[in-house]
């Protein structure tokens, strides 16, 4: 069947298989090669595309929960949505969430996801106690920091290339309410945004939406959103504090025509969006779903990019070169007239790992509609990112080349050695891993 992921590009013919039991999954792995696991397909490009795609969605059970240790164990196909639906009403939250709740735990590990709180709480692997992985030879191995730690570190952020994660154990956080105290600050330009980030680094959650098409003195004008868990005393309303209102979902029924999202319409949107925020700092309380997953409300929002699809270019630059690097990159993008209404800046803290993406510094993520003009621009941006000591995020990528990838990840050879140790025949391979030669 034809398969694509969130960016709707590329669309390729694959042998897609659902599994109902471990036995059939085992046989499948024995009999095939060029296999990659796939959860909800929320990577943007070809990380979860291969000749053979093994869907893990039927392995979606919660296996245990200990309220004393707050440790939950679940099968790898369990979605964040299911976990939040079950545990938020009980006063627990996921330690790290990305921009959508429609991802699986397997994907969370393979991409070593990060959220708006990385500068304080790190990525998902930071909260991961252990997991069980199915290897190319059919064996099931338990991995943790103490046990098979090489495989543990290679699998976190390892893009599914070490095997198929079957189940995982991780720790939840305690929360008093399902609400977040949000502060919204308007920043005139990139300098102001970065200095506000630094000033607000004690906030648990921070993220800035950037108008990536603004230029000159308004380069990098943004809306900074800070968040903190709302405690019981912050809540004025007398309601069930761990329950949030059901929201009506909107659906995008069809692919927008390609011309709908163009540099003019995007500039217009960005202008109005930026100016819709009041000048002074705005404080309010929002439910967790609206704060963390604002786009999830719009089902299939990726259709606004039309049939051509889109990709996301996300990179990180070390703090020391961030100001200059971001300015140069944003200028280049604004000049190119390619870009979109979704450009997001976050602050990263320190991070361990082999080919896991986050490292200390600033990370910028930008959506780009796919076009012929795009790839040369991104190649240029790659050079700039590498020049400033940064790297690109594989989970969003669809066109990164081998050189640009390897230059950004100094632990790549270590990763390859571990991968070879556990997958000599290179059974676990994606279109992406082939492209960047892992």
């Amino acid at each position: 069947m034809k398969l694509t992921n969130w960016g709707k590009y590329p669309l390729v013919e694959v042998n897609f298989k659902d599994f109902y039991s471990l036995d059939t999954l085992n046989s499948f792995i024995k009999e095939n090669k060029n296999i990659i696991a796939r959860g909800l397909g929320r990577c943007y490009g070809d990380s979860a595309l291969a000749e053979n795609v093994a869907s893990t969605l039927n392995f979606n059970r919660i296996l245990s929960f200990d309220s004393k240790t707050r440790e939950v164990e679940c099968e790898a196909g369990t979605s964040l949505k299911k976990l939040l639906d079950v545990f938020v009403p009980r006063g627990y939250f996921m330690p790290v969430v990305p921009g959508t709740k429609f991802i699986t735990i397997g994907g969370a590990i393979a991409s070593d996801i990060h959220g708006k709180n990385h500068h304080i709480e790190g990525s998902f692997s930071n909260h991961l106690k252990s997991f069980l992985i199915l290897l190319a030879d059919g064996s099931k191995v338990e991995c943790s920091r103490e046990n098979n730690s090489d495989l543990f570190w290679a699998t976190c952020g390892g893009m599914g290339l070490t095997g198929i994660i079957l189940q995982a154990k991780f720790k939840l956080k305690s929360i008093e309410t399902a609400y977040i105290k949000q502060e919204t600050i308007k920043c005139k330009n990139l300098s102001e945004a970065m200095s506000m980030f630094e000033k607000s680094s004690n906030y648990t959650y921070s993220v800035a939406w950037i108008d990536c098409l603004a230029s000159g003195s308004s380069l990098g004008r943004s809306i900074l959103m800070l968040g903190e868990y709302a405690k019981k005393e912050d809540m004025s309303l007398d309601l069930n504090l761990l329950k949030i209102p059901e929201k009506r979902k909107i659906s995008i029924p069809f692919d927008f025509p390609d011309f709908a999202l163009n540099s003019f319409s995007i500039r217009l949107f960005n202008f109005f969006y930026y100016h819709s925020f009041p000048q002074n700092i705005k404080k309010n309380i929002v439910d967790y779903d609206s704060f963390f997953f604002p786009l999830d409300r719009i089902h299939d929002w990726n259709k606004v990019y039309g049939k051509r699809g889109f990709t996301q270019y996300q990179f990180v630059l070390p703090k020391s070169s961030s100001k200059e690097g971001l300015e140069k990159i944003l200028s280049r993008i604004s000049q190119s007239n390619q870009g979109s209404f979704l450009a997001v800046l976050k602050l990263f803290g320190k991070q361990e790992g082999l080919i896991s993406f986050p490292k200390e510094g600033y990370t910028l993520a930008l959506d780009f509609p796919i076009s012929n003009k795009l790839f040369p621009l991104l190649d240029e941006l790659d050079k700039m990112v590498i020049h400033y000591g940064g790297r690109v995020y594989l989970t969003k990528d669809v066109r990164l080349n081998k050189e640009a990838f390897s230059q950004g990840y100094p632990n790549l050879e270590k990763f390859k050695a571990i991968k070879y140790k556990y997958d000599k025949l290179n059974k676990f391979k994606s279109l992406q891993s082939e492209r960047i030669s892992i």
Binding site: Y20, S21, R61, I62, L63, D85, V86
Partner: protein, 244 residues
């Protein structure tokens, strides 16, 4: 008052989805089947999700002699029973290997009769309860491609119909469910037309709704009633020549 739902054939994807729907309504569960390891995991998952108790019980629909004992072992008698035990089997094999034919017939019909007789007798004596029998559209008319399965389901449909008559005056409700194509383990190898194939969750929602509104027979999804009406209307002379 702790109310229980007994799910027979709990490894079935449809059964699991039904169990979830009833757990949402606060029912505790008896999940009965042969694959105890997996059923226990399903039970844990559902009990954590919905804060109810789920007990995994060993049950073999083909071990008729064990059925009364099995039912007697349930300390709190269930308020409702779902019979989802089923076996699709292989039509071609069943034509030459009678063991396959017998397995299809006994799993889908004889075994169900055995356990449902036990349940029905208990419900009749208590004058309360509901029984949901998962039959199939395949039982509406025998098709060349799966008539061993189809005939066993036809038998089940007739049994449930008669049971409904017997129990109606005793305040016990019997619901016959006829699913069409459903994406489950059972239909794993088959290439089913996407538009006509339901998800187990959709089927389960249809079923709980129908049970609560005391419907007697439902097709799920709804359009199968129309499809089967047409299929049943085709004269035999023409029908026998079709490749269905």
């Amino acid at each position: 008052m702790t109310k229980y739902l007994l799910v027979l054939g709990a490894s079935s994807d449809i059964a699991k989805a039904i169990a979830c729907e009833y757990a949402k309504e606060g029912y505790n569960l008896y999940l009965a089947g042969r694959n105890i390891e997996e059923i226990k995991k399903d039970g844990t998952d559902i009990s954590i999700q919905f804060n109810i108790e789920a007990k995994a019980c060993y049950f073999d629909v083909l071990d008729y002699n064990s059925h009364q004992k099995f039912y007697d072992s349930l300390s709190i008698k269930p308020e409702g029973v779902v019979c989802a035990a089923g076996y699709l089997g292989n039509q071609e094999k069943s034509q030459t290997d009678f063991n396959e034919a017998r397995k299809i017939i006994d799993t889908n019909f004889t075994g169900c009769v055995s356990i449902l007789n036990v349940v029905a007798n208990d419900f009749a004596s208590r004058k309360q309860g509901f029984i949901i029998g998962i039959s199939s559209v395949a039982g509406d008319r025998g098709r060349g491609s799966n008539y061993t399965y189809g005939s066993s389901k036809a038998a089940l449909t007739a049994y449930l119909s008669g049971l409904r008559c017997r129990l109606a005056k005793l305040n016990v409700h019997v619901l016959t469910v006829k699913p069409g194509f459903v994406a489950t383990k059972m239909t794993e190898g088959l290439k089913l037309p996407k538009r006509l194939t339901a998800k187990p969750e959709e089927v389960a929602k249809d079923i709980i709704r129908a049970q609560k509104s005391k419907k007697d027979v439902i097709y799920t999804k709804w359009f199968w009633e129309i499809i089967m009406f047409i299929i049943k209307a085709i004269p035999e002379k023409i029908y026998k020549k079709l490749k269905l």
